[in-house]
């Protein structure tokens, strides 16, 4: 019996190559998208779960409210790790990461600039499941000046040599001995490092014994990342409950002094990637994007499934006789249902095979786009296989069920006699299904337009400073920092170099917050303020606009010791209004033995500019000039558009004379700022690709349906032509109905798209608003696609020879 079913199914498929191909293509593409998205989402949810103990690993973050402003940040302070282990019996172990930015690594005569470097505790391998290829996990990070390097960099530095015991030179000053090789950190880690130094190095270097201090200056400096490992069966809620007692013991005194309300944020390591909402965090994923992708996969599958249902029921008149005859010779209703379900399952599973093969081919490209190392294999991702098999099964059953129940309910007698014209399925239902497809497509089209517009908006938003033709280079060489003024003078000799300035932090990328005291009605109040240390040329080079007062000047001696410039937000925050000039401001507060403070007055207010990423609303900022060479960490060189390569060559040459041991590593500021939008760019690209796909599948369905309708109406159209209808009349007749459906679909899509995309846009402090033109454009695009799809078949039908058409039976 089964054999007979399959024969019928296969012959049906091969008899109707055109419709089968449309169906297969739609289902395969739908499944390809579903598999890719499933792999993507699976990877997003797998972050940090490769750590066997991930259920017990928590990160300590900080949440404080100062003068009404809340700050939730991922970093913690140095003493927290060890004191947590002492204080809470639940804590088995702790580990700290002290990130150290970009550094120069030298081995033999080769030098490299590396990122992803940190100092860390020797408990690394007790907590995380990283794989050490060479070295003893108990010992590699215990001694001072030890380093472990990942596999990729080991190959880069040492080639085939055995690296263990080799010495590398860091920033031309510190020597480290290679103690181990670690396997590259899995890509699904929320933080990644390439090189780890032993934390005991810092203890040894610290002559004044500050490192292990438990004073307030140590507790209240939030600049490192701490993880704790709970004991088996310990409950994190107990740690949270007892934290106020801990706070009272270690932190309360200074906290009360500045009036801060401090809480702890304990995050499960596996939750960080998707759920962390903290500032100063490693770049994380976004659970909203997961929802969006999930919806897209569901949409595309729905469209493909609807295609199948529509085509199958539309062609029901052709199948009716077959069904009738099966019934006459003894088939029960259930066996007919089974036949059609089996047919849809055969089709969907064939489509699945095509999809799996295609995914294997597409995956390298997809990985490039999403920046992941996804694989699809029975051994590595058996869960994905099970999932897509289940999805395919559901797809087959759901899309096969309507044709199955519809066709099996046919009464055989009239069909076989040929007395009753079989209606081609339920027309209303088919219309509803087409409306569904085009609503989904309209949501995707308007989503694409909105995502592109937002990206365009962010990229072209006035940042409030000049970012064109500015070359940036980090200055890691301390002798160059000392000779900075000479270097600047040498550069300025070139007429194509307009200005040179230095700062501590790179605009838009890194900044630092420190407690300031500001004047409020003759009293000084605390506020955690962002700051940057600049030189006299910075404001001019960046073209920052002064609102009140003046810029820093070399002529006035006190400008490098006691002068501050604040931004408009700060002036507003401190209620200074138009009288900001002359107000007192103090950088830093004295905590314990720590006295890095600077007292002064405000000499100018600049208008707000985006010194942080556009995903953060502009916060108050203070700027000041320092003559101390250690603040000259970023050099900014403004050049003319014209003859850039010559200018660059000149800078390179000058650099080499001032800093022969450090290569000139530069980038353009605007390029660097544009890389900030990678997440949005990736989302835009995915949106474009997936909406094209969903439109493509919906169009294939519409194409098939319209061909079928035209075919069905051959005789009617022939009669109409004989009675005098023009080709135009007939094309209009055939396309009119689909147009109506597309318009209804768009009307349904508008509120859904508006609602969903507004939720997405809410994440951006600087965003576009959804205007009516977006939906009008969407409608026009849908209509053009619809017209394009339907008109060809309609035209063919209209041009057909009417004499042949009316003879056709």
């Amino acid at each position: 019996m089964l054999k007979n079913f399959f024969i019928t199914i296969i012959r049906n498929i091969s008899r109707n190559k055109f419709y089968s191909a449309l169906n297969m293509a739609g289902l395969s593409i739908g499944l390809i998208c579903t598999i890719l998205i499933t792999l993507f989402i699976r990877d997003e949810f797998s972050y940090d779960k490769y750590n066997i103990k991930h259920e017990r690993i928590y990160r300590i973050g900080s949440d404080f409210v100062l003068n009404g402003k809340q700050d939730r940040i991922a970093p913690s302070s140095l003493p927290m790790g060890p004191t947590f282990k002492d204080y809470f019996p639940e804590v088995e172990e702790y580990i700290r990461f002290i990130p150290s930015g970009k550094q120069q690594i030298k081995y033999n005569d080769k030098d490299f600039y590396e990122e992803g470097i940190a100092y860390t505790d020797s408990s690394l391998f007790d907590i995380f499941s990283y794989e050490l290829i060479k070295g003893d996990p108990k010992k590699v990070l215990t001694e001072p000046n030890s380093v472990i390097i990942n596999q990729t960099l080991t190959k880069k530095y040492f080639g085939t040599e055995d690296p263990i015991g080799k010495v590398i030179l860091v920033d031309d000053t510190h020597k480290f001995t290679v103690k181990g090789i670690i396997k590259d950190i899995p890509s699904n880690s929320h933080f990644k490092f390439n090189i780890l130094f032993s934390i005991s190095t810092l203890v040894e270097r610290d002559k004044e014994k500050h490192f292990n201090s438990l004073g307030p200056e140590a507790f209240w400096n939030f600049s490192i990342y701490t993880f704790i490992l709970l004991k088996d069966n310990a409950n994190i809620a107990n740690v949270e409950k007892k934290f106020p007692l801990y706070y009272e013991k270690y932190m309360k005194e200074f906290g009360n002094q500045i009036g801060v309300d401090f809480k702890i944020v304990l995050q499960k390591i596996a939750d960080i990637h998707l759920k962390s909402d903290l500032n100063w965090d490693a770049p994380t994923g976004n659970i909203k994007y997961i929802y969006i992708l999930f919806a897209i996969a569901l949409f595309i599958l729905t469209i493909a499934g609807i295609n199948y249902m529509n085509m199958a029921t539309a062609r029901s008149s052709k199948r009716a006789k077959e069904v009738g005859m099966h019934k006459v010779v003894g088939a029960q209703k259930e066996s007919i249902i089974r036949l059609f379900l089996l047919e849809s399952l055969t089709l969907t599973f064939s489509a699945l095979i095509i999809a799996i093969i295609s995914v294997e081919l597409i995956l390298p490209l997809f990985n490039l786009v999403v920046n992941k190392d996804l694989v699809l294999s029975i051994y590595e991702t058996p869960d994905v296989f099970l999932f897509i098999i289940a999805i395919t099964f559901i797809l087959g059953i759901v899309s096969g069920s309507y044709p199955a129940f519809y066709l099996s309910a046919f009464q055989p007698a009239p069909i076989l006699k040929g007395t009753r014209k079989i209606r081609t399925g339920n027309k209303l239902l088919r219309q509803i299904l087409v409306i569904c497809q085009f609503s989904v497509s309209a949501i995707m089209i308007s989503g694409t337009i909105i995502v592109i517009s937002q990206l365009f908006f962010l990229k072209n938003k006035d940042m409030g400073f000049n970012k064109e033709n500015i070359i940036i280079a980090p200055v890691l060489d301390s002798s160059m920092q000392v000779n900075m003024n000479e270097f600047k003078a040498e550069l300025k000799k070139n007429l194509n170099i307009e200005a040179v300035a230095t700062s501590t932090f790179l605009i838009g990328f890194s900044n630092s917050k420190t407690l300031h005291l500001y004047e409020d009605q003759n009293k000084m109040k605390e506020y955690a303020l962002n700051f940057n240390v600049i030189d006299f040329d910075y404001i001019n080079l960046m073209k920052l606009k002064l609102m009140q007062g003046r810029a820093f000047s070399r002529e006035i001696k006190t400008d490098s010791t006691t002068a501050f410039i604040v931004n408009q937000s700060a002036s507003q925050k401190f209620n200074w209004g138009v009288n900001a000039i002359g107000k007192k401001l103090q950088f830093g507060v004295s905590i314990g033995e720590h006295k890095d403070i600077r007292k002064g007055t405000v000499i100018g207010v600049i208008s707000d500019f985006h010194y942080q990423t556009l995903s953060i609303a502009i916060e108050p900022l203070s700027l000041f000039v320092s003559e101390s060479p250690r603040h000259r960490r970023m050099i900014h060189i403004k050049i003319k558009q014209y003859k850039q390569s010559e200018t660059l060559a000149y800078i390179q040459k000058t650099w080499n004379t001032f800093s022969p041991n450090h290569s000139f590593n530069y980038f353009f500021l605007d390029d660097k700022i544009n890389t900030r939008f990678k997440t949005e760019e990736r989302l835009t690209l995915m949106f474009i690709v997936f909406s094209i796909i969903s439109i493509l599948i919906a169009s294939m369905g519409l194409f098939g349906l319209s061909s079928f309708m035209a075919e069905q109406r051959t005789k009617e159209l022939g009669v109409r032509k004989i009675l005098g209808a023009s080709t135009g009349n007939i094309v209009y007749l055939l396309t009119r109905e689909f147009f109506k459906l597309i318009i209804i679909a768009n009307i349904i899509a508008i509120p859904i798209a508006y609602w969903a995309l507004n939720i997405w846009l809410q994440d951006f402090p600087y965003r576009i608003y959804i205007h009516a033109w977006i939906f009008i454009l969407t409608l026009i695009i849908s209509l053009i696609i619809g017209l394009f799809t339907v008109s060809w078949q309609s035209y063919k039908a209209a041009e057909a020879d009417p004499a042949k058409a009316i003879k056709y039976e």
């Binding site: 007979n4 024969i7 019928t8 008899r15 005859m325 029960q332 009464q411 007698a413 040929g418």
Partner: protein, 220 residues
């Protein structure tokens, strides 16, 4: 009685029809278009249920049977022959004829034996691998008859079996039906052709859902 309902009008397709067909009989039903011939045939073939009245098959009262029961009764006992053949286009001649046996769950070797036997009898053994469209009308109808008799039904219902055939092929089909009848199969045939009706034992004239005449004929 059989009533068809459309939105506004109720039509009684058959009214007050009292008919008994004996085993081994060959009955022809005649009458103008729309007189209820096909409805009567469908009710006799258990494809349709009467709206009211009683129906007996093999002494069992079968009106009010569920679709499942009717299907089971039908597949064991009744064969159908249509004017438009109604062979399934996606199946070969062999597979079309085999189909009823599949629903009766006959073993594969037995199926093969019986299909080949009937193919020989219908003189289409050389066409087994072909699809219906590749055959002439006469050959298709012989295949359809082969499919109807493969289960050895007690009753064959034929709805204008020669309606789409030329006279030579029509003649051959009528010969086959006559032979089947002589071998003991009951046949009820709807026809417009008086010469086909001549082959029967009894001609029933229907008009407007009523039986108007019933001619018993004595075969010579």
């Amino acid at each position: 009685m059989k009533t068809f309902r459309t939105d506004e009008v109720e039509t009684n397709a058959l009214n007050n029809v009292n008919l008994e067909i004996n085993e081994g009989e060959f009955v022809a039903i005649m009458g103008p278009s729309g007189c209820g011939k096909s409805t009567l045939l469908n009710i006799l073939g258990l494809l349709d249920n009467p709206t009211s009245g009683e129906l007996f098959f093999n002494d069992a009262q079968v009106d009010g049977y569920s679709e499942r029961q009717r299907t089971n009764l039908r597949k064991e006992n009744i064969g159908f022959v249509f004017q438009s053949f109604n062979l399934i286009e996606e199946l070969t001649i062999y597979e079309n004829i085999e189909l009823p046996l599949l629903y009766m769950k006959v073993s594969s070797s037995e199926r093969k034996k019986r299909v080949n036997e009937v193919l020989d009898r219908m003189k289409i053994a050389h066409r087994t691998k072909h699809f219906p469209q590749q055959l002439s009308g006469g050959q298709q109808q012989r295949a359809a008859i082969a499919r109807a008799v493969i289960t050895n039904p007690k009753l064959i219902l034929a709805d204008e079996p020669t309606g789409n055939l030329d006279s030579a092929n029509g003649e051959e089909v009528m010969n086959l039906l006559t032979q089947l009848n002589e071998a003991g199969t009951t046949i009820v045939m709807v026809t417009h052709s008086p010469s086909d009706a001549d082959r029967s034992h009894r001609i029933i004239q229907l008009f407007d859902g009523h039986i108007v005449t019933e001619n018993m004929r004595q075969k010579l």
